[in-house]
């Protein structure tokens, strides 16, 4: 008897140690696709605080911005999307979510119904999932498909898969260093692809695409599970260069058979309704950018608000954490968007936003009297008599001019913004030296530095020039 106790205690300690060491070796998937943070932060959500869960692949990470739903509809949402997340993993995550949350709606991005997931991506979805019968099922599933016992062991004990990284283990494996912020499962991207090759999908072919048997079985399991748990299920397909009517038809069929709403944002009609434009709303790697994410998520939000009885969470004490997150999110979106603005009126409006400190220095710009010139001066709240001087600078904070000077000779100013950040302005050289680094573009016009007080970072440096009296924004 004593021996059995000894043996079991040894094995238990051994497994704990192996697990602990394994955690150190699992790669930190902290890059722009934030796979690890998405999962770790999900487990940290307050219990039963979620209204809507979005699941899917990287399409969700870049396309579903949960905080938009909170901002505009008071809905608490989160997105679990890892790169090429398989349908099976999505299913596992839906099941996993109901252990700690009681969401009313699940939005499933159905791209992966038609694709395989390579091992590396499967790991992202599973390695950080807490061990449970749910995880065990998923592991067995993957190993069975590969007909490999070694695969089973490698998922059960990640140390056996990642031990070869021992040479690379450094401080980053012990200290969490995250390279992109996780906004409730959303990773902010502001790049605009400008890609005009995209053609919306039209209802011109009656054929269905083929779904592999296991995935078909899985999607039916998901449908069944959500029905049993009384969770509303919505299918959706993000704007995507790699999509076609055949696949649309296939999903449409399943949706109709099971009375499930399916939003395909590639269909011409829906695109028009949502005002989606591929060139403007996606980044260069065929994923939505912030503009597309806003439109898509809010459209879903509108639908959910109308069809599901979800209490408005805004203002409630238990959801104060969402307010804080939203504040940071809004601020970061503000930073993200301003760098894409080329329309002068829009840009001026953007410069006047809260949390921005804007420094302007005039650089070799002839004085003008055009309507546009005067409008700009006016909208920024500048004193035109000072602006007309050959040497001129202005500092604008939260849309208000807090410092401004115009002179015939050089103005050399050393001051602080955001209380502690040193700035040196030299109007003759048109130099804006911020914290020791030169930020001016030295371009004709007004050289502009935009700084965000809340996120404490330089947002961009640009210039506003006037060509034939017409304002031009440049970077």
């Amino acid at each position: 008897m004593k021996n059995i106790v000894k043996a079991i205690s040894f094995l238990v300690i051994l497994i704990i140690v192996i697990d602990f060491v394994g955690q150190i070796f699992i790669p930190r998937w902290n890059d722009e696709w934030i796979a690890t943070p998405i999962i770790k932060d999900f487990y940290d959500l307050p219990k039963n605080s979620l209204d809507v869960l979005a699941v899917g692949s990287s399409q969700v990470v870049r396309g579903f911005s949960g905080l938009e739903l909170y901002k505009n509809y008071g809905i608490s949402a989160y997105g679990i999307g890892t790169g090429q997340q398989s349908i099976q993993s999505s299913y596992a995550w839906i099941k996993e979510s109901t252990k700690t949350q009681n969401e009313k709606v699940v939005c499933l991005e159905i791209k992966m119904l038609f694709e395989d997931t390579p091992e590396e991506q499967n790991r992202k979805a599973l390695d950080n999932m807490k061990f449970s019968s749910n995880k065990l099922e998923s592991i067995i599933d993957i190993a069975w498909k590969e007909k490999s016992y070694e695969t089973f062991i490698s998922y059960l004990f990640p140390i056996t898969r990642f031990h070869s990284r021992w040479k690379e283990i450094g401080s980053e494996n012990f200290i969490e260093e995250i390279k992109a912020t996780n906004y409730r499962g959303y990773s902010l991207e502001n790049e605009v692809s400008g890609n005009l090759d995209y053609v919306p999908v039209e209802n011109n072919i009656p054929y269905d695409a083929f779904i592999e048997e296991e995935r078909y079985e899985c999607i039916n399991n998901i449908i069944k599970y959500c029905k049993e748990k009384n969770i509303g299920l919505i299918f959706f397909k993000m704007l995507d260069m790699d999509w076609d009517i055949e696949r649309h038809n296939r999903v449409e069929k399943i949706a109709k058979e099971n009375d499930i709403t399916f939003f395909d944002f590639n269909m011409k009609d829906l695109m028009n309704e949502v005002d989606l434009l591929y060139a403007a709303d996606t980044s260069r790697n065929n994923h939505l950018n912030i503009y597309g994410a806003e439109k898509t998520t809010n459209y879903l939000g509108e639908y959910i608000k109308e069809h599901y009885d979800i209490e408005d969470k805004r203002g409630k004490d238990e959801y104060k954490h969402l307010d804080r997150q939203l504040e940071q999110y809004n601020n970061d979106v503000q930073n993200a968007k301003i760098v894409n603005i080329f329309n002068p009126n829009e840009y001026i409006e953007a410069l006047n936003q809260k949390n921005f400190t804007v420094i302007l220095v005039k650089n070799n710009l002839p004085n003008a009297t055009t309507l546009e010139y005067n409008k700009m001066i006016n909208d920024l709240g500048l004193d035109i008599s000072k602006v007309y001087k050959s040497n001129y600078y202005a500092i604008i904070e939260d849309g208000k001019v807090i410092a401004e000077e115009g002179a015939d000779q050089n103005i050399h100013l050393e001051t602080m913004v955001d209380t502690v950040r040193p700035v040196i302005i030299d109007t003759q050289k048109a130099s804006i030296n911020f914290e020791g680094t030169e930020q001016s573009n030295f371009h004709q016009g007004f050289d502009v530095l935009v700084y965000n007080n809340k996120s404490n970072n330089v947002v961009e440096s640009s210039y506003i020039n006037f060509e034939n009296g017409i304002p031009v924004i440049g970077r």
Binding site: A7, L14, Y149, E150, R161, K167
Partner: protein, 508 residues
Amino acid sequence: MILTSSIYLTFLVILLFLYYIFPKKMQWLLLLLFSFIFIAFSTSDVKAYLYILYTVLVSYVGSNIIGDAKNEKQKKRIQSITVILLFIQLVFLKYLNFVGSSSINFINLFGVNLSWTNLSIIAPIGVTFYTLIAIGYVIDVGRGVSKPQLNILKHALYVLYFPQLTSGPFTRYMDMEKTLYSKHKFEFKNVCFGFQRIIWGFFKKLVISERMAIMVNTVFDNYSEFPGIYIVIATIAFAIQLYTDFSGCMDIVIGSSETLGVTLPENFDTPYFSKSISEYWRRWHITLGTWFKDYFFYPILKSNIFQNLQSKLKKVFGKKWGKKLTTYCGMFILWFTVGLWHGGATKYIIGSGLLHWFYIVSGEVLEPVFNKIVKILHINKENFLFKFWQIVRTFILVCIGDLFFRSTSTADAINMIKSLGVNNYTEIFKGALLNLGLDFKDLAIAISGILLLLTISLLKQKYKIREEIKEKNIGYRYAIWISLIVFVLIFGYYGTGYDAASFIYQNF
């Protein structure tokens, strides 16, 4: 089934679970079943089962006919026929190409112009091992040392017992029949010690052997680029690789059998601490040595041919030298065969055979010369430094044989020895060790492993390691074994990103 794999460990654990739950008289049947499962996992070739079946049937039928035989003459005749039948299969499966091409070459000496095309025959795992075990059994029955096993299933178990199946050790039926078929009560110590030994085997193989293999392969597969010091490094690395690989395999195999309560004989006894080549062969692949001694060498020496030869030589060279020369002749045949057993190629015949014959014979012949030198230089044979010199000298001699063993052919081995003359030996100080495929970190781990192995080997001379650890307190014990397991898990050469080589002796 690769022994250093999670599949094998799971296989063993499941077996153990069933083994100690099942009624004890069924335990041997369970072993037989699992031996077949082991074979099934090790080969996908249907023919392999036929070859195995052949060995089992021939040895079973032969031994039982011997048992029923009326007189000695009949016994000897059946014994010979059975052994030849078993032997023929071995030659067919392992040596056909060697025999064929050698014969053709011989015939061609007479002006004929034939050529031999190599046939591709896949030898089933362990055929050189279990065939010899079967032959040994038949001979023992013929000699009256053992009674034939009447139960064909029990007989099959002896021949195919999975721990010894792929690489030995060579067991004796008279020893095995005492424990293989008996009832085994669950002994916690056996299971513990067995697994501890298995972990140690994993350590040797995955941490040390695989890393040595990288350096060895870099040089041996491309030796023209790596002369001088690199040949030295790679040969020593190979000596280490071969030892950790083979003895590690033995640790796993003997440890596995230990968990089942079946004792297997040891095959290694820190061989590189040997002070002479003769001693080396009492400590390296021990059961091979005893097998060849009992079933091959002694019959040869005791045969009439050799006794007559001895009388003749005694008349010419005197009593002492008559005896010695006869023995040397016998040994020549022995070592030729031992070399040949390792493989059908001259490099094996030399490297694991005749070279050692040469060492032993010249050692004996030159013994008076050595003794004189020792006397003149007033060397104390008990002195530690002298013993150390003997160990180093023996190791060097063994390494030369290993060079032949590992090289692609005898011609290549000779070229490699020639290239020892290239004077780049100072490169050892300029990081030569890092030019052979292992970076600094890997090399550091390998060397740490080797140092640990060396320490344990030295301690083994005095202490029984597992017993000693068992006496310590529980925290200490858990720490040691868990650390070792985790060390192997982290630094072992296995899994994705590594090409795990099968045990070197597995295809023998």
